[in-house]
């Protein structure tokens, strides 16, 4: 089994003065941030704070309007198999669950025999064997999310970006996804994720990056953040107050 940590690490990810605007509206402004290999990084913030945008920029799906986003060996770009992303709403192909995984593995250039083996390994690892032949798009929301996570896992990325992976799931589905997150961590994959579930954030976070209206408000160790956040917006966010 190939370990995600194999080969030289692409971490840290360094953002310098990152800005992103659409039609004159500044959506992200002057974000300076370094994401290192240690622990899980949770990006928190109110709706519209720019969390999904930040993940897309880091994954290379969007180009920053200002500043730079670099891994240890160069600028980020989409399609680099060393970092993967699972979207807020999973996007699955009109094929069976297994074929979805096989397709992703084909895209990273794995030989056919290895693809089949890795797909079986992945399906078995997450108890998705019974769903393997089912068309991915008739699976339930929770099953789709697990399949999307499994697909990302099969790629053995060094870094995984997760955008609210449990926002539409019930407690059991949430637990299943959190177990999958743990499986990634076990394989040495760095997790960078967003969530609106504060209990989940407490369970999973090692460090917290807090965004407020497109700006980085603070970046703190998890224990400290939930105990005594440094910034005013984070304090009111935790208290459940409206952030203005």
């Amino acid at each position: 089994m190939v370990s995600a940590a194999e080969g030289s690490s692409i971490l840290p990810l360094t953002l310098r003065g990152v800005g992103y605007s659409v039609a004159g509206r500044v959506l992200l402004d002057a974000v300076d941030l370094e994401i290192g290999p240690e622990g899980r990084t949770l990006i928190l913030g109110a709706n519209g704070a720019g969390k999904s945008l930040l993940l897309r920029l880091c994954h290379g799906l969007l180009q920053p309007g200002a500043g730079s986003i670099r891994w240890s060996d160069g600028p980020t770009r989409a399609g680099d198999p060393r970092h993967a992303m699972v979207f807020q709403r999973p996007i699955l192909l009109r094929r069976s669950a297994r074929a979805n995984i096989l397709h992703a593995l084909a895209m990273i250039g794995l030989p056919a025999a290895e693809r089949r083996q890795r797909a079986e390994e992945t399906l078995a690892r997450f108890g998705l064997g019974a769903l393997a032949e089912r068309p991915a798009r008739v699976l339930s929301g929770g099953e789709q999310q697990r399949l999307a996570m499994a697909r990302a896992w099969s790629l053995k990325p060094q870094v995984l970006f997760l955008d609210e992976p449990t926002s539409a799931l019930d407690p059991a589905g949430t637990r299943a996804v959190e177990e999958m997150i743990a499986a990634f961590a076990e394989g040495g994959t760095k997790i960078v994720m967003t969530t609106h579930d504060l209990a989940q954030a407490r369970r999973l976070a090692d460090e917290v990056v807090f965004l407020h209206q497109g700006r980085l408000a603070e970046r703190t160790g998890a224990a400290e953040f939930f105990d005594m956040p440094a910034s005013a917006p984070a304090r009111s966010f935790l208290k459940g107050e409206l952030p203005w």
Binding site: L61, G79, D80, F87, I91, L93, H103, M107, R137, V138
Partner: protein, 236 residues
């Protein structure tokens, strides 16, 4: 034709397996299916490319393809005729009044259909898939097979529309094929000729066969689509 009722005569003719009739049907199928195959090979990837790319003049190209879907067959025939006529640029090939010329004319007619419909199908899919596929490193030309495969159920419609137009068409093949007996006579040109001559039984027999072929093809495609859709759990 001694039989006075053309319908009865038509059925008798079909039942007798008349070799002339069989030859006409075979040529029609050969020409139409060749044109369809060429159009698919060119039209599907080009349509997909057009769906995913953004370049100046793309809008005009899209409008052009859409407009060409309604190209009058006789105009397409005339254009190919001019191209292949002795003094035309492709004249030396000597293709005028051959089945190849008819394939060319029909390709001109159905390529825009395949292209436009596949562009539409792939454009919708790409909008939905883009982020995921780019994330997987499946973008540009690499994404085309993925998108065409995932659009397979909708693309059947494009293929049927192309077949329908080519098999029903008479003007273009008449001009470039010349309706030469035993050589370039197709079902549609034969119907036109036999009707003009008053040979209604033969015309009607051919008409029934053409209708039958179209029904079989559409029925087959429909059933295949239903089956595949169910087994792939298509939500649409």
């Amino acid at each position: 034709m001694s039989e006075s009722n053309p319908f009865v005569a038509a059925w008798l003719l079909i039942a007798s397996g008349d070799p002339t009739l069989a030859g006409i049907v075979a040529l029609s199928l050969r020409v139409t299916l060749s044109a369809l195959a060429i159009s698919l090979v060119i039209g599907l990837p080009c349509g997909a490319f057009l769906a995913m790319s953004r370049f100046p003049g793309r809008g005009l190209l899209v409008i052009g393809c859409n407009a060409l879907m309604g190209l009058p067959p006789v105009v397409a025939g005339l254009a190919i005729y001019l191209l292949l006529s002795r003094s035309g640029p492709l004249g030396p090939l000597g293709l005028l009044f051959t089945p190849s010329a008819m394939v060319m004319a029909q390709t001109v007619l159905i390529l825009p259909i395949v292209l436009s419909l596949s562009r539409q199908v792939v454009e919708d899919l790409w909008e939905e898939y883009e982020e995921q596929l780019r994330s997987l490193g499946c973008s540009g030309a690499r994404a085309i097979p993925t998108l065409l495969w995932d659009g397979r159920f909708s693309l059947i419609t494009a293929i049927l529309a192309g077949f329908g137009r080519a098999s029903a068409e008479v003007g273009a093949v008449l001009i470039v094929g010349g309706n030469i007996a035993g050589h370039t006579r197709t079902i549609t040109t034969a119907i036109a000729l036999e009707t003009a001559k008053g040979e209604l039984a033969l015309a009607l027999g051919l008409g029934i066969i053409l209708l039958g072929l179209t029904l079989i093809l559409n029925g087959g495609a429909y059933l295949m689509g239903q089956y595949a859709r169910r087994s792939a759990g298509q939500p649409w």
